[in-house]
Amino acid sequence: MGKTPVTLTLNKAERAGFTDPGENLLNFLRRGLGDLSPKYGCGQGTCGACTVLIDGEPQLSCLVLAETVSGKTVNTTGGLADGAQLHALQTAFMDGFAAQCGYCTPGMLMAAKALLDRNPRPSRDEIAEAISGNLCRCTGYAPIIDAILAATGQQVQG
């Protein structure tokens, strides 16, 4: 079984690598390209820890075959900051205590970014819906929703 070359734009950089047949994007990003920000939580598409953006859409990288992203644009939490300048979502998560163990955070941030990219002023319900595929076992969801609201400049109700 031969390896397949994959060329993609990962976090604004042209990247290329070889993938084994059947390898998922999560493994390819982590072990093939060294972007360790997407996390393995279940490998079954149920937890959302591996969420990345493919051409702007949130996708579960554990369920995507790596070879299918050739020519596409992939964004991960590893590239969310602009150099040393953190994204508003990152700052809001830091200030709002929206992470405890941090393992779900990269996936949460990607799901939230996908939402804000298409809807800059979402309601609380829309935020809850957008992160409904991302599980968190530590902090609970309220601080995460509050942080996403805060990142949009909206008032967080106490």
Partner: protein
């Protein structure tokens, strides 16, 4: 939203705090939001090998034969491990604290006692190859009758789950098949009570379900050492366990952890570190042993199920004069931390109430279920559920507002607890008052006027005039090894040395005359006692180093 109640215990606190009450950033949060926090699996190694366990499909079975020949010929397979490859293939987690007897193999050789128990481990170049080879390991099992219910397991003739404990009960202090608490004379008090209220309460096992599954990566380092990146919650526990099971000096083990993707107690069992290091030492290559999600949920040790029987003696005015417990912890097939959970739990009985006669028999029972382990407040949460559900039942029987019932019976500073320590830093009354107020639930004027610092101590600080003791459950001829012998059988070493725990009460000398069980003076009418001096800096401090589990 956090609300700081400065009206409560105001004289015990100064307001010069620098951090409490002010927003702050976690020290590790920059790594979390940038995806750079280094979890164990975020360390890349060239030539990493993957380990997958061969697991028992049976709840209870004798292993006749394990044939790894075909698996060893599978593509990518480097080695297949079985129990004979483990230098010290029997361990109990708390043996590092000299508590309990080694009872659990890393890879089972003779029999399996729960479904999912590992019997072999494949090391292969890729995870997929390891999985394929796992399917080719042939294990010849002879199924044995299994037992899943704690009370069934204790009956004569029940199948023996764990040969170290033939009667399916952990042996406490080398002497008893259960942990005892004796305080006063419960039976006499029950006979004199206006009402006797009984209840049975059953918990389910609860999986910690961390987002990151448990795992470890080990690799040969320089100088004949091994580095081990691990998800463990208990780095030195895992290091000590690996050193013991691999018969390797701990100075040859370089453990790196601390970044844990959620633990909640489920990452203390130290199963992955010895296996990964064993793999690395036998192959000379980096090895990763990690659970997938299915293993995390099915094999990962949960909070154990508990069954509690409670009997309360209560007077018409709501005073609880006696409380009797029989508890069964489902430890699953091996001890892990359940024995300790019970020590902790029994030290906590009868809950945050001042009850003059308390009796408990609590069993750590082995069944053919997944072994149980730590989870957030384990040993306490289950029985607290039983106690509080029972309090509501008692309130109903005596026709009392359940919050008034709790405040009436709540312990106050200076009261004697059943484990023979004076209660201090109590705050249940104030918690009840605030909860009632927040819920718009009206409580009696006497409850409004009550306070944790008032009316405690005095007669309520006295030990019972007579405590009934017994030898029920005495185990003869049990070789407990060293752990129960150190300080004499009646003063066992506790995992946490500061744990308020005097589990085996001794009869009070010179007070052999049985005294009638009597209710303590009701707090509202108690003679005013001088305020006990309180140790201000310690008010909310933890006595237990295990608190975070």
């Amino acid at each position: 939203m956090i609300e700081f109640r400065k009206d409560l215990f105001a004289d015990e606190r100064d307001d010069t705090l620098n951090e409490v009450g002010k927003p702050t950033r976690r020290q590790d949060i920059l790594g979390h939001v940038t995806g750079r926090s280094p979890y164990f699996d975020d360390h890349l190694f060239d030539g990493l090998l993957h380990m997958r366990a061969v697991r028992s499909p049976h709840h209870h079975a004798r292993i006749r034969r394990i044939d790894t020949a075909e698996a060893e010929r599978m593509p990518g397979v480097v080695r297949v491990l079985t129990g004979k490859d483990v230098p010290q293939n029997l361990n109990t987690l708390l043996s590092l604290l000299d508590f309990g007897i080694d009872d659990e193999p890393l890879l089972s050789t003779d029999k399996v006692a729960y479904r999912g128990e590992p019997v072999a481990c494949v090391i292969a170049a890729t995870e997929l190859q390891a999985r394929d080879a796992v399917a080719k390991v042939r294990v010849d099992y002879e199924e044995l009758p299994a037992v899943f219910d704690v009370e069934e397991a204790l009956k004569p003739g029940a199948p023996t789950v764990n040969p170290v404990y033939p009667k399916n009960a952990f042996v406490y202090h080398g002497r008893y098949d259960h942990q005892k608490l004796r305080f006063g004379d419960v039976d006499a008090a029950l006979a004199q009570a206006d009402h006797v209220v009984e209840g049975r309460y059953q918990m389910s096992p609860i999986e910690q379900a961390p987002m990151e599954t448990c795992g470890a990566i080990a690799a040969p380092e320089q100088n004949d050492r091994y580095v081990c990146y691990t998800s463990t919650q208990a780095l030195f526990f895992s290091l000590g366990t690996a050193a013991k099971m691999l018969k390797m000096g701990s100075n040859r083990l370089h453990f790196i952890g601390g970044t844990v993707g959620g633990g909640f107690g489920g990452k203390v069992d130290s199963l992955h570190e010895p296996m990964a290091i064993l793999g690395a030492s036998l192959t000379g290559r980096p090895c990763k042993f990690a659970w997938d999600r299915e293993e995390e949920m099915q094999v990962g040790a949960p909070r154990g199920a508990e069954r509690w029987y409670l009997t309360d003696g209560v007077m018409n005015d709501g005073r609880i004069v006696a409380r009797k417990f029989t508890g069964y912890f489902d430890s699953g097939a091996y001890t892990r931390l359940s024995s300790y959970a019970i020590i902790k739990g029994v030290g906590h009985l009868p809950g945050p109430y001042t009850i003059p006669n308390v009796h408990a028999d609590v069993y750590c029972v082995f069944t053919n279920r997944t072994p149980a382990t730590a989870m957030r407040g384990f040993g306490i949460t289950g029985v607290d559920f039983a106690i509080e559900a029972h309090m509501d039942k008692v309130a109903e029987v005596v026709g009392m507002n359940p919050i008034d019932l709790r405040i009436l019976n709540a312990y106050r500073d200076g009261d004697m607890k059943a484990h023979r320590r004076l209660a201090k830093n109590t705050a249940l009354i104030e918690c009840c008052q605030v909860a009632a107020q927040k819920a718009g639930w009206s409580i009696a004027p006497s409850s409004q006027a009550a306070a944790s610092m008032k009316d405690g101590g005095g007669a309520r600080a006295a030990l019972p005039a007579h405590t009934v003791t017994d030898q029920k459950g005495l185990v003869e001829g049990f070789d407990s090894g060293s752990y129960a012998k150190k300080a004499g059988a009646s003063a066992p070493p506790s995992p946490s040395s500061a744990q308020p725990n005097r589990p085996t009460p001794t009869p009070t000398p010179g007070q052999a005359a049985p005294a009638p069980a009597q209710a303590r003076p009701a707090p509202q009418t108690a003679a005013s006692s001088p305020d006990q001096p309180r140790n201000k800096p310690n008010r909310f401090s933890s006595l237990s180093g295990f608190r975070r589990r």
